[in-house]
């Protein structure tokens, strides 16, 4: 190694600001791209949770015939229906029926929540099956 310790000016240069602006712009651009890619994408899986614990997962797909599945909620049964890649709460043992009123969902990331009966239906899954099991640093 022949290079000597550089004596240099440690002042900020114009390029530093350019880099910061470029990186911030890249962040904004990628945010738009990711939002576009995710939005409107049909989910492939409905995950049903009661009181935070997963009780059921049902695959969603186009052309499915309607079928009803009942799970035991916190205070009573909740019945949800799967049809043609979408899912809705059909009947629920709760007072306000907000969950039933939410209607059909089919988009990834959407969910139906029934607070009184502590039932959550989430639509997940995408192009590829399987979710992240572990994340390391």
């Amino acid at each position: 190694m022949s290079r000597k310790t550089r004596t240099r000016s440690w002042k900020l240069r114009a390029g530093d600001f350019v880099i910061v602006v470029l990186v911030a712009a890249a962040a904004a651009a990628s945010m738009v791209v990711v939002a576009r890619a995710g939005a409107g994408e049909k989910g492939s899986l409905a995950v049903v949770e009661v009181n935070g614990r997963e009780v059921r997962r049902v695959t969603l797909g186009a052309g499915q015939a309607r079928r009803a599945i009942t799970v035991d909620g916190w205070q009573g049964p909740s019945t949800f229906e799967i049809e043609n890649g979408r899912v809705r709460m059909a009947a629920s043992d709760c007072r306000d029926k907000v969950c039933v009123g939410m209607g059909w969902i089919d988009t990834r990331g959407r969910s139906i929540v029934c607070l009184p009966n502590r039932v959550v239906i989430r639509v997940t899954g995408g192009r590829k099956a399987g979710n992240v099991d572990t994340v390391t640093e």
Binding site: R13, D16, V20, S30, V135, T136
Partner: protein, 168 residues
């Protein structure tokens, strides 16, 4: 630089990087996004680059990742830190050599932080094969601005303190 000096400086920089990453692992995470780290250990690579040149920077990064991987005992962790560390060091070296008049250590460090996060995400994708990982990309790009600035200014501070010492 005499070989003994060189080995000593290399060892000092590698252990500085290791200690910094241990210190960093005790800090709470910046964001609930995996990989969004302050990257304190990168200070060692930046200092190696600016004080001793590209060869030293590569060696410091390589050794820091390998020894760090041995300490943590995780092969996956080693793979991720090597890919992030080497990619970012290479980009910093290129910018250091090509754009020395345009960029100071701060800009180079921001570019290095960005490369580190992007390369690590790509490596993680190779491991888990799940495109959902890329949902983290915007956040990882965004945090590389403050973390890169921090590392850049910290390195500059250290380098200014070392100025006048004959290290080489």
């Amino acid at each position: 630089m005499a070989p003994t000096r060189r080995v000593t400086n290399l060892a000092l920089l590698v252990s500085t990087g290791l200690v910094l990453s241990i210190i960093e692992s005790t800090l709470p995470p910046l964001l609930p996004v995996p990989g969004a780290k302050l990257g304190l250990a990168n200070i060692a690579a930046v200092l190696a680059l600016y004080l001793f040149g590209p060869g030293m920077a590569l060696e410091v990064t390589l050794l820091r990742c390998l020894v760090g991987g041995l300490l943590r005992g995780s092969v996956v962790g080693l793979f991720l830190s090597l890919s992030g560390g080497l990619a970012s060091t290479l980009v910093m070296i290129i910018l250091f050599l090509l754009a020395d008049r345009l960029l100071s250590v701060v800009g180079v460090s921001v570019a290095g932080a960005l490369t580190h996060n992007a390369a690590q995400l790509a490596a993680a994708y190779l491991l888990v094969q799940n495109a959902a990982l890329f949902y983290y990309l915007p956040y990882l790009i965004l945090v590389s601005v403050p973390t890169g600035l921090f590392v850049g200014f910290a390195s500059r501070r250290v380098a200014l303190s070392l100025e006048g010492l004959s290290l080489a």
